[in-house]
């Protein structure tokens, strides 16, 4: 199940990997340079930002790539106890592998991480090469709606983690905070601000209530959990949509 999902995620990221390869070449990179970014940087948002900004100067491109890459450090805080060897595992810490590693036990956490990290790595790099060779015809991700593919994929990954009320509240708060910050700060920063706000809220709430409380909803059983998921999963999206319309 986990491995099948991981391969699916790899295939999906491959579709926008093709766009990345094409955009990189359109931005003036050589085919080997486009492939080097996917092999060595291997974090999609940073790569898209880098090739988008490199025309207006290396410092801005590097700084934005790093700001967008900073969230990978935060994923590491959660993943650190599970992953060895660290220098190798670090390369595969990306949004998709981190999302698939949010599991209840250590074994599934590792499997979710490695299966997804490797599947995305293989597909992303093959797709980059294809896109880089394919040229300008493939460079607009909007044509096939591929700019909606990444957030939809993240929603599919996040939804199963939203069965309990606390992650639902955290997700909604983070989405709203990111949208408020979006027009005000450089790329990559809104997501970091959102994480900060969400963590502060979780800590404030954790201080007020007992430790056992967070675990309580899980006792509801599978049926209740499934219902809750069914009923509430879209709430994050709904809130985001509302805030987006307001922003």
């Amino acid at each position: 199940m986990i491995v099948r999902d991981a391969i699916g995620i790899g295939v999906a990221t491959g579709t926008y990997g093709v766009s990345f390869g094409a955009i990189a070449v359109a931005a003036g990179l050589s085919v080997p340079q486009a492939c080097a970014l996917s092999l060595l940087m291997f974090t999609g948002a940073s790569q898209f930002a880098f090739v988008g900004l490199i025309g207006s100067g290396a410092p801005a491109a590097i700084a934005t790539a790093l700001l967008l890459g900073a969230r990978n450090a935060l994923y590491g805080l959660r993943l650190a106890p599970f992953l060895r060897p660290r220098p190798l595992a670090a390369h595969f810490v990306i949004d998709e592998s981190a999302a698939m590693a949010v599991r209840d036990n250590a074994e599934d956490t590792r499997l979710g991480f490695w299966a997804t990290g490797l599947a995305v790595f293989v597909c992303w790099n093959l797709a980059t090469l294809l896109g880089a060779l394919g040229g300008a015809a493939l460079s607009d991700p909007r044509v096939f709606g591929l700019d909606a593919a990444a957030p939809a994929g993240f929603l599919a990954l996040l939804a199963p983690r939203l069965r309990e009320r606390e992650p639902q509240a955290i997700a909604a708060l983070a989405a709203v905070a990111a949208l408020i910050a979006l027009p005000l700060v450089p790329a990559g920063v809104p997501v970091l601000i959102a994480a900060g706000v969400a963590v502060a809220a979780a800590l404030a709430r954790g201080g007020k209530r007992g430790e056992g409380e967070a675990r309580a909803p899980r006792a509801g059983g599978d049926a209740a959990g499934a219902d809750r998921r069914g009923g509430e999963a879209p709430r994050a999206g709904g809130d985001a949509a509302g805030a987006g319309a307001a922003a």
Binding site: T15, M41, T43, S46, G69, A73, A148, A172
Partner: protein, 96 residues
């Protein structure tokens, strides 16, 4: 184009990934810290969904995300969710 910025940015992004994994474990052992570390991916992904969908204003991507949410509710497999979102977005752009 020069290779230097490519290699600097790639090295920096790798260093960030490694830095997160290299935080000493004793700093991560507290109950509160562990709770925060567990909630961080949820917060980051939710923020990513919001910013990637609404960056540059509300457009066909929002409809794509709404379709994805419905597909998730219907328990569609991962690839189907992504395909439905992309198809909805592309179709809406074609029609408008």
């Amino acid at each position: 184009m020069s290779w230097t910025p490519i290699l600097i940015a790639a090295a920096g992004c790798y260093a960030l990934k490694l830095a997160g994994l290299s935080v000493p474990e004793r700093l991560l052992e507290g109950v509160r810290v562990r709770r925060v570390a567990t909630l961080l991916p949820v917060a980051l992904l939710a923020a990513l969904i919001a910013t990637q969908t609404f960056d540059g204003g509300v457009d066909a991507r929002a409809a794509g995300l709404a379709a994805a949410a419905l597909a998730v509710l219907a328990r569609a497999p991962f690839l189907a969710v992504v395909a439905i979102a992309a198809a909805t977005t592309a179709l809406l752009r074609l029609l408008t």
